[in-house]
């Protein structure tokens, strides 16, 4: 059907095994540049934003990181993926990207771990992930 204004559904995960082709215009799409190693759901789709947790969840202090390439300025930035916890998984905007993702014995770059450490009330269930920048990739 014809696209209605403000269509809210994001293109799904990227083509299996395909090249990572980051964009800088839609946070709710899995190929948004900062989501290069995200595993889970994009918080902007369930009441949060690119860098804020939805109301009702708890923000982890810990995170895993990835170095993501920004096509707009040609720089790579370190993204610290912090989980929003204490609620059931949102189910909206699920993505699994693994740029630079390493196995569990290199947990600093591993995205299978439930990175809820440091969230208030010891919240440890996974709702969604935010993609804040913590610095330039070294």
């Amino acid at each position: 059907r014809a696209a209605a204004e403000g269509a809210t559904h994001a293109p799904g995960p990227r083509e299996a095994r395909g090249k990572w082709e980051p964009q800088d215009h839609d946070v709710q799409s899995c190929n948004y540049w900062r989501h290069c190693s995200i595993d889970g759901n994009i918080c902007d789709c369930s009441g949060g934003s690119l860098t804020t947790c939805p109301p009702g969840t708890k923000l982890a202090t810990a995170s895993w990181v990835a170095s993501c390439y920004n096509p707009t300025d040609g720089q790579s930035y370190l993204i610290a993926y912090r989980d929003c916890c204490g609620a059931n998984v949102s189910g909206r905007c699920p993505c699994l990207n693994t740029e630079g993702e390493l196995p569990v014995y290199r947990p600093e770059f591993g995205n299978d771990i439930i990175w809820c450490f440091g969230a208030e009330d010891d919240a440890m269930t996974y709702h969604c992930t935010i993609s804040p920048i913590v610095g330039k990739a070294s």
Partner: protein, 116 residues
């Protein structure tokens, strides 16, 4: 443990000047510095005297912190803020003892402050 106006936990063995990360430049000048780089505390074991302050300065983009488990610095765990590059966090050690710590997301990063 209740947080007093000065940031001091009355029954704890430490005082924390700021619970938030500060710019490295704003770290206490007389503190003993432990740099964090390449997924390590550069000086994982340090010895200080009671009353001295230790400041951890993260020298890389990868976020790190220090966490003292429950029972070490006080009854509750002491979880420092995650530090970005060139951010710092200080703890003043008031009593003698051994204070092991680790980095919350990176349990293999371990250190110890020995106060004597």
């Amino acid at each position: 443990a209740t947080l007093g106006a000065t940031g001091a936990f009355a029954e704890d063995k430490v005082t924390v000047p700021s619970h938030d990360a500060v710019a490295a430049a704003e770290a206490p000048k007389d503190a003993v510095v432990v740099n964090i780089a390449k997924m390590k505390y550069e000086t994982p074991e340090i010895k200080i005297k009671p009353g001295q302050t230790v400041v951890w300065i993260n020298q890389e983009a990868m976020p790190h912190n220090v966490e003292f488990q429950a029972g070490v610095t006080g009854e509750a765990a002491l979880k420092g803020p995650m530090l970005k590059k060139e951010q710092a966090y200080s703890v003043t050690f008031n009593e003698a003892g051994e204070f092991p710590y680790h980095c919350t997301p990176h349990p293999f990063m371990r250190g110890k402050v020995i106060v004597e």
